[in-house]
């Protein structure tokens, strides 16, 4: 569903639906923006969060947009794909630390349900060890530095893995956890197709439009 020649900005919403609505209605109208229902938002509101974000973004764009359900699936792969699909998600995430059986069920059901699969490599040192074991490959690989990892040990973004993965497989690569303009620019320069951000938007919700424009400029 995503164009391999474009780079995208994925904005994650993790707080309240009311705030998300206020922010989405002022976002620039751009097909390069993907809207993410963050894990915390899904756990707070359930599938309703995906349905609501889908509605807000569709109204703003004037056509259906791209909605990522960050379910961080760890077990019951098929069930979670069905939950996200029924709520209208365009893509769903699964943790790469999940059992291989779960990831395989997840990927097969994503294909069956025609929804993009995103495999989140958070806390995985060697992504190839996981990728080699899979029967079906994910559409998108997410290289992810967690919030506490950054705040605690200032771990760097796994940007060097972008080229390594692209040399062997041809999925889209998404980079999450690099929040400032410099890190986003760096990720895209190194071949990332999607930059996932949320903190800058959460810090200044009223400046959502300006922040989005800035990021879109960086990932041109």
């Amino acid at each position: 569903m995503l164009n391999k020649k474009l780079t995208y900005l994925q904005i994650a919403f993790n707080r309240s639906l009311l705030e998300a609505q206020k922010m989405i209605v002022i976002l620039p109208v751009s097909g390069r923006i993907l809207i993410e229902a963050g894990t915390s938002l899904i756990k707070q509101y359930g599938v309703q969060s995906i349905i609501a974000l889908n509605q807000f973004w569709t109204i703003r764009l004037g056509k259906p947009g791209y909605i990522v359900a960050d379910m961080k699936c760890m077990d019951r792969g098929a069930r979670e794909v069905r939950i996200a699909k029924s709520a209208g998600a365009s893509a769903i995430t699964c943790l790469a630390i999940a059992p291989i059986e779960t990831i395989n069920y997840f990927l097969e059901h994503c294909k069956k349900e025609k929804i993009d699969s995103m495999l989140d490599m958070m806390n995985i040192q060697f992504p190839f060890e996981i990728l080699q074991q899979l029967r079906v490959k994910p559409d998108i690989i997410v290289l992810h530095r967690g919030l506490e990892e950054y705040q605690g040990s200032k771990k760097s973004l796994p940007i060097d893995q972008i080229a390594q993965i692209k040399r062997v497989y041809s999925p889209l690569i998404s980079v999450a956890g690099g929040e400032d303009f410099k890190e986003v620019r760096h990720s895209v320069f190194n071949g990332a197709d999607i930059a996932v951000v949320w903190q800058k938007f959460a810090q200044k919700p009223l400046a959502t439009a300006e922040t989005a424009f800035e990021f879109l400029k960086e990932i041109k």
Binding site: N14, T39, S40, I42, K43, Q44, Y45, G46, V47, Q48, S49, M71, K72, M74, D75, R76, G77, R79, E80, I83, L95, I97, A98, P99, E101, T102, Y105, M122, N123, G146, L147, E148, E149, Q151, G152, S153
Partner: protein
């Protein structure tokens, strides 16, 4: 910690729809040895409010919020607390910084911390890296893994962990067959987590719960 070291508990995981969960709750016997879990798929479908609904239906029960935290520990621990959970679950595979923060926050908000070792090969290696151990360690074989006969629950780790850490309770999930339940009990498990027998409502729920409670006495 609200749970007692000398007691053995049965944790019933609610993973189907909330209407089915409601019926199951009505049929459960009253016992301080039954813990009720708001399962991950249930929370993801209905939202964390489902924890509050369970608490409303079973006001004196001990409720576990199986949030399977991987990141943003503060947000999710507060979410569980606000909705009335007594315990919350974090993944043992989460970054160490996240787990440390999770355990600290659980203590601050007076909830029990449960660390789910699904996919973790050596639980003790993770536990040794932590600033403080969690209240409960869950040895877990995932629902999707049960079809792979080669994947066994590491019952031997129960004694290993109990030997290394004094105040930690051990919970086992993913072994719903009677032979597996007996293995867990034989190896000294403190909390037995079951879901298959309690997936759909029915009149036999009460009988089943009493039967399992007797098994783990």
């Amino acid at each position: 910690m609200r749970l007692e070291h000398k007691k053995k508990y049965l944790q019933i995981a609610l993973n189907s729809s909330f209407s089915e969960a409601r019926e199951i709750l009505f049929n459960l016997p009253v016992s301080d040895r039954i813990l009720i879990e708001a399962g991950t798929p249930l929370i993801k479908s209905e939202g964390a409010n489902v924890i509050r609904e369970i608490k409303f239906l079973k006001p004196y029960s001990y409720i576990v919020a199986d949030l399977k935290i991987m990141n943003l520990a503060k947000k999710e621990v507060i979410l569980a607390k606000k909705n009335g959970a007594d315990a919350v679950v974090c993944l043992g595979f989460a970054p160490i910084e996240t787990i440390d923060e999770f355990i600290r926050l659980c203590e601050e908000y007076q909830m029990d911390s449960m660390l789910d070792m699904m996919s973790v090969k050596n639980s003790l290696l993770v536990l040794k890296k932590l600033k403080k151990p969690p209240n409960v360690v869950i040895l877990h074989r995932g629902a999707d893994e049960t079809e792979n006969r080669e994947k066994l629950i590491p019952y031997y780790q129960i004694k290993q962990i109990q030997g290394a850490l004094n105040n930690v309770l051990i919970s086992v999930a993913g072994g719903d067959e009677l032979s597996e339940i007996r293995s867990a009990i034989f190896n000294g498990v403190d909390i037995l987590i079951l879901w298959k027998a309690f997936y759909h409502p029915g009149a036999e729920i009460s009988v089943l719960a009493n039967k399992f409670l007797k098994e783990i006495q």
